[in-house]
């Protein structure tokens, strides 16, 4: 077992910035990360890709990751890539696995910089091979320069589909069509938030530029798509969709990428019993945090999109703040000095956060995302349908944990990461309760699957005879 001052989980924008800030004040820092190289999802493989033509095609905000990764490498933090964290105990003791062996790490403070996941979007046929998320498509583009051979369909809403499509076109990919699922009439309520968002006029222009580029390239766009359906024998063959006032349309399709926004990774904070709050504007839970990113558990911080979706730049500032706070908490930085050093990051974070309500209002998920038809599989691990959950919802007003016991939804290896919010919404709707009244699944460790053999390696003692 090793002991460090600060354990940082995740080497994306937040984790790297936190490490740099904490190292500046002499903390003994260990960073563990699932990925083989720093950068997180946004800057995936940036160290090797930035200098190539592919890097240029991915754009400026991607290339910006190269200098961050270099600063992180130079900061003096210990760094374990390809290392999965699967349990943290209060105190703090972390359990990680790398190279097929489990081990423990003790830390006086912990920063969870585990980011976000794409919001699962259940619809009939979403589990068919050939249906992926836009995020998954983008990872293939970043790490392997992999462009689908056949034209792809994109369905969804938000900045990521727009960005991915421009990146895909630059890489020589073909887009069969874009099913824009943003509901009609979203702009007006979003514009109310525009004055606050003007501080980030650059981002607004960037979004506009993506939209114009798509228009110029002649990508076929269908607006206000309300429902989609994937069909096929053993894999995606036919895509069906319906606009809010239209008939069902049908088209041949081999690849469909979907995206309906991001939600914070909340499993680790929930497992550690941190308070979480419902973020109505983002339709998800996020941990309750103070101005430094500290959770309700002393010495445990959340930085980056895990604190609430706000993007890579906000993630870096949140990382810096958490790193400084950890240094202050461990006595390496006087409180007043921490405040002074934090001021620029705080101001910049404020500008980033002011931009979010506009995006959140514009790209709030369409209602169908939370109300899939009865035949739709909601829990992929245990293959539980929306209809089964609806039928159960009426028997004694159960919450997610009781429905889990009845139906096995949420019992599989993903620990409810795919079905959690959908189950909450289905129950809430059936029981006419506000969704936030339902609560999330109780999280049972491990946070990531660990094998019996890996766990066995923790038991070094001789077996009792």
């Amino acid at each position: 077992m090793s002991t460090v001052d600060l354990l940082i989980v995740g080497a994306g924008p937040a984790g790297m910035a936190a490490a740099v800030a904490a190292r500046r004040h002499g903390l003994d820092v260990l960073v563990v990360d699932d990925q083989p190289a720093p950068g997180g999802q946004i800057w995936r493989s940036v160290e090797t890709v930035a200098a190539t033509a592919r890097g240029g095609r991915l754009g400026e905000s991607y290339l910006a990751g190269a200098s961050r990764a270099a600063a992180f490498r130079a900061c003096g933090a210990s760094y374990d890539p390809s290392c999965q964290l699967w349990q943290i105990e209060p105190g703090y003791r972390a359990f990680v696995t790398s190279a097929g062996k489990a081990r423990t790490v003790s830390a006086k403070a912990v920063i969870l910089a585990t980011g976000a996941q794409e919001r699962p979007v259940p619809f009939p046929g979403w589990t068919l091979p050939g249906v992926l998320t836009v995020g998954a498509g983008q990872i293939l583009l970043k790490t392997a320069d992999q462009v689908p051979a056949k034209p792809v369909w994109i369905a969804g809403s938000g900045p990521l589909p727009l960005l991915y499509m421009t990146q895909l076109l630059a890489a020589g990919g073909k887009i069969a069509g874009f099913l824009d699922t943003t509901p009609r009439g979203r702009l007006k309520p979003a514009l109310r938030h525009l004055p606050a968002a003007l501080g980030k006029a650059g981002d607004l222009l960037k979004g506009l530029a993506w939209t114009l580029a798509l228009k110029r390239s002649g990508v076929r766009t269908v607006k206000h798509v309300a429902e989609i359906e994937a069909r096929g024998e053993g894999r995606l063959q036919t895509l069906r969709y319906r606009t809010d006032n239209g008939q069902w349309q049908e088209t041949a399709a081999e690849v469909l990428l979907v995206h309906e926004g991001l939600v914070p990774s909340i499993h680790a904070p929930l497992a550690l019993d941190c308070q979480v709050e419902w973020r109505a504007g983002q339709h998800c839970y996020a941990p309750v945090l103070d101005g430094w990113g500290e959770t309700s558990q002393p010495g445990l911080f959340v930085a980056g999109d895990g604190a609430g979706i706000a993007g890579a730049i906000a993630a870096e500032h949140r990382g810096t703040l958490a790193g400084l706070a950890a240094a202050a908490r461990l006595g390496k930085l006087p409180a007043a000095a921490a405040e002074t050093e934090a001021a620029p990051a705080r101001r910049a974070l404020g500008r980033e956060l002011a931009f979010r309500p506009f995006l959140d209002a514009l790209y709030a998920p369409r209602p169908q995302v939370f109300a899939p038809p009865d035949e739709t599989i909601v829990c992929r691990c245990e293959e539980v349908t929306a209809g089964t959950l609806r039928a159960r919802a009426q028997i004694g007003r159960p919450g997610p944990n009781q429905v889990k016991a009845f139906t096995r939804a949420g019992m599989g290896p993903c620990q409810g990461r795919q079905c959690g919010y959908t189950v909450m919404n289905i129950l809430a709707h059936a029981q006419e309760r506000p969704v936030e009244a339902l609560g999330f699944y109780r999280i049972r460790p491990p946070l990531k699957p660990v094998t019996l053999g890996e766990l066995a390696a923790l038991d070094q003692k001789d077996t009792a005879a």
């Binding site: 016991a405 019992m411 699957p449 660990v450 923790l458």
Partner: protein, 379 residues
């Protein structure tokens, strides 16, 4: 204190775990009006956190008669609760890894035979291999109870609940008993704004049974356990019997769903006040190691989830069953830590006898509450 009028019943049961439901079912079927008061929801703690073993193998000698009667009931459980509860009878084994472990198994078998019991049987390495082909070849033999098995916890809870409701038991969830008062011949149980009266109360509050007894002024020494479980991803069927091992905390089985369900009594930490328990992975690693040494083929199998269940455990590891020696109308049924689901059906009948007749034909004197009460040790 005034407030809402209390609802009157013949019997109030504190605790909606399987033992509370089983007692409620038997008593309601005998024509009494029963209410089950459950603080959270039915089966919230030990009942849904268990491996749901149905095991006569290795029972305390005092438990063997009721355990065998319960086993007969399990083999016709569908007729009792309307569902087979996912019960399968592939046997339970206690495996000896080394020759040095065999004498204690042989001695147990001899003791049982001496008492006239034949359900525990020694098998040799060849028969063990036939029954459990994937077991590591270093194992030399086992003690087996062939009629034993395991149930599906959630199906069992749903079946007992359904049977209770069909028999007219009122099940009130989200209703923790906070205070009790004597009202003439009745007990008044207060749960927040709500109140219930009954002349007879069954304490089936599991790990919290000591606290429930204290509400009646009764001090019963009771320990708590937080037994850990792990469940893996699904595998193709390869294992019938439940496998335990001499000298190791391991209970290893494959469920109907194909998952491996691994327990055996390794301890996490329990917090009775917060009603939470936590897994201790350093301790649980012993179970992972035992699993991969007994079944080398499972080393690469992924663990999907682990948990702990909070259970009551008495100092002598046998339950508390019987009328309170001091408090009129109070009956206890708890302390089944490590017992799985095996005794559940017969305990319903025993509690019915005690509440309605004041006595039972079954032999339960070893479980008398007085043995755990300060200054009141049973003779």
């Amino acid at each position: 204190m005034s407030g809402t009028a209390a609802q009157g019943y013949d019997v109030a049961i504190i605790g909606g775990g399987l033992h509370g439901l089983s007692a409620g079912l038997s008593i309601a079927r005998a024509g009494r009006r029963v209410v089950v008061l459950e603080r959270a929801w039915v089966g919230r703690h030990a009942s849904s956190a268990t491996a749901a073993g149905v095991r006569t193998l290795g029972r305390d000698l005092a438990e063997v008669p009721i355990s065998l009667e319960a086993m007969d009931m399990w083999h016709r459980i569908e007729r009792i609760v309307g569902d087979d509860c996912g019960f399968h009878s592939h046997g339970q084994t206690k495996v000896a890894e080394f020759e040095t472990h065999m004498p204690q198994l042989r001695e147990r078998e001899a003791t049982m035979r001496g008492l006239g019991y034949s359900h525990e049987e020694i098998i040799d390495a060849a028969e063990l291999r036939r029954l459990v082909p994937t077991l590591s070849p270093h194992c030399v033999g086992a003690l087996i109870a062939r009629d034993d098995g395991a149930a599906d916890p959630h199906r069992t809870i749903a079946a007992f609940r359904g049977a209770c409701e069909a028999a007219g038991v009122a099940i009130v969830e989200g209703c923790g008993v906070e205070a009790v008062e004597r009202r003439g011949a009745d007990w008044l149980l207060r749960c927040g704004e709500r109140a219930f009266t009954a002349p007879a109360v069954i304490n089936a509050a599991g790990a919290w049974a000591g606290r429930a007894a204290a509400l009646f002024g009764e001090q019963i020494e009771l320990g708590v356990r937080a037994s850990m479980m792990m469940v893996t991803e699904r595998l193709a069927p390869f294992l019938g019997p439940v496998v335990g091992v001499v000298g190791r905390a391991l209970s290893f089985k494959q469920s109907d769903q194909g998952t491996l369900v691994i327990g055996g009594g390794l301890q996490g930490a329990a917090d009775l006040d917060r009603q939470r328990s936590t897994v201790n992975f350093v301790e649980l690693a012993k179970g992972a190691r035992a699993s991969s040494e007994l079944f080398p083929s499972v080393r690469g199998v992924r663990i999907a989830r682990c948990w702990t269940g909070i259970e009551a455990q008495t100092r002598d590891h046998i339950p508390v069953i019987g009328a309170s020696p001091d408090v009129p109308g109070l009956f206890h049924s708890f302390g089944y830590s490590g017992h799985g689901f095996q005794l559940v059906p017969v305990l319903g009948e025993i509690m019915r006898d005690l509440v309605m007749e004041g006595t039972t034909a079954r032999s339960i004197s070893a479980f008398a509450p007085a043995r755990l009460m300060q200054g009141r040790r049973a003779a």
